[in-house]
């Protein structure tokens, strides 16, 4: 019941501010809470390369390493680029492919030996 008038009020507020507020609630990278607003804002500031946009917003840098956000970031970059040649490069896929516990990679012989 409350919803209808509230929504109408929201729609009357100036378009840009409303869209910024909505963009802040639209998560591109759930790992680091990077939002659609963050991507657009950083792009407008000048981070207009996949690798620098990544470093500015921390997309691709959380536990999922881009598995969730790659397609979304690609779409947003394509949209922000406008009609130009679409960006073909994505930030690199670094090893390991999935998070791995450090203990799983210990050379047992070296640690077991205990030599300091």
């Amino acid at each position: 019941m409350i919803r209808q008038p509230f929504r109408r009020w929201r729609e009357r507020t100036p378009g840009r501010r409303r869209s910024a507020a909505l963009d802040r609630r639209t998560l591109v990278c759930p790992c680091h809470d990077a939002t659609l607003f963050d991507l657009r804002n950083s792009w407008d500031e000048g981070y207009q390369h996949p690798e620098t946009l990544k470093r500015a917003t921390a997309v691709f840098m959380g536990p999922c390493q881009g598995k969730m956000c790659a397609k979304l970031v690609g779409n947003v970059v394509a949209e922000l680029q406008g009609g130009g040649e679409p960006e073909q490069r994505r930030p690199s896929v670094r090893p390991p492919l999935f998070p791995v516990r450090m203990g799983d990679l210990v050379h047992e012989d070296e640690v077991g030996g205990g030599a300091a």
């Binding site: 919803r3 790992c31 963050d38 500031e45 598995k67 690609g74 670094r94 203990g103």
Partner: protein, 448 residues
Amino acid sequence: MTSAGEKVTFTFEGRTLTARRGQSVASALMQSGTTVLTRSFKYRRPRGYTCGYDVCGSCPVTVDGLPGVSACSTPVQGGESVDRERGWPSADRDVMRVSDLMAPLLPAGFQFRLFRSHPRLAHLAEKVMARVAGAGRFPTAEAAAATRTLTSTARPDVLVVGGGLSGCAAALGAASTGASVALVHRGPLGGRALARSGSAAWEGTTTPVAALAARLADEVRAHEAIDVLDGTALSWFETGVVPVVGGDRVVDMWPTQLVVATGSYDVPGLFPGNDKPGVVLADGVSKMLRVDGVVPWRRAVVLTDCERGDVLAAQLREAGVEVVAVVHQDGADGTLPGPRHLTGRIEAARGLKTLRAVDVRVGGRVETFDTDLLCVALRERPADDLALQWRYVSAGSPTSVAGGWSGAPVDEDGLAVVGSAAGWLEDDPEQARAVGEAVGARAAGVAR
């Protein structure tokens, strides 16, 4: 000793919960009414079950003192102690949720402007932020000690990474040529296909995909020439090694031929509130209903841009969930398949802590649907990470290689990509098997 499916108990934040041994921790928690599994990193937004396959990082819990364990992909063993790791006083009620209200002040990069003229304040702020950030605790040395492993080496003719429908078919194809085959897979062999609907052609008959995946998984397990490893491939490294980490061992694989059958990733939707608990990706929904056998939702809205929407709607109805709307994103104006189908876009996913309602813009108006599940069934993206790393190695650098936003099939000598990892739109196990046969023959040619 208990076997899979038997009733066991485990401790969750001091409470004793009952579950079936082998069901995922997340499904057991959701059965008990726990929908908020963690809090997000920066804004401390509530997060819940999302992808089902340990991809999204939205369900880390601490199990017996070890942080960062994926609740969605970790089976209940019985007797363990499970805690959520973020949020104070609890993940359900987190006072730091207030940071979300300050979001307009905290855009990405805000820290570079903060107190830049006051180094001492800046340093203090940094320390405070580090304490406040949504991160797991540093593990105890005892909990950490459990992770030690033993390393061995293997030199299979063919290494298949991914044991879904295509991976199993490719492994069987390669093994049929007399090649030695190793197959690496995380979780139950058969993979996402075990939870899928639909059918595929195999040996002259059309068979349901889920049943076929289970059958091929059995054949793979029974095959003498196929060594099955439960674990994950770390990467394709410069020297040609693919280390596999799983259980209590690391196996350094030096394959003659590599087959990438890593499948696909679900793609999230882009709309306000898209991270709320209750917004779940399609494969995560299928797995919860069909593998874990838990139905934690009553009503559902399905968002789709392809045929998966119908499939998921059918799965949900079959499980007794009321599908209140199927929203076709960017859909054509033509006839929609059913009365609850509509063309539009998600305006917002709403609900204070978990999903309560979805606003859908249809033409010029907005319709609100009360629901506790928004199933996102968009076209998947090939899981091409391993194939890309193959390219990085041949290029000598990871930064100059094009492709990979949405997947690029790669086929070079020594490498084959099959199934949805290669962008195949349909399940085609016979084609995967044929690729496996060719790769097996190629390996034999190299080895002998």
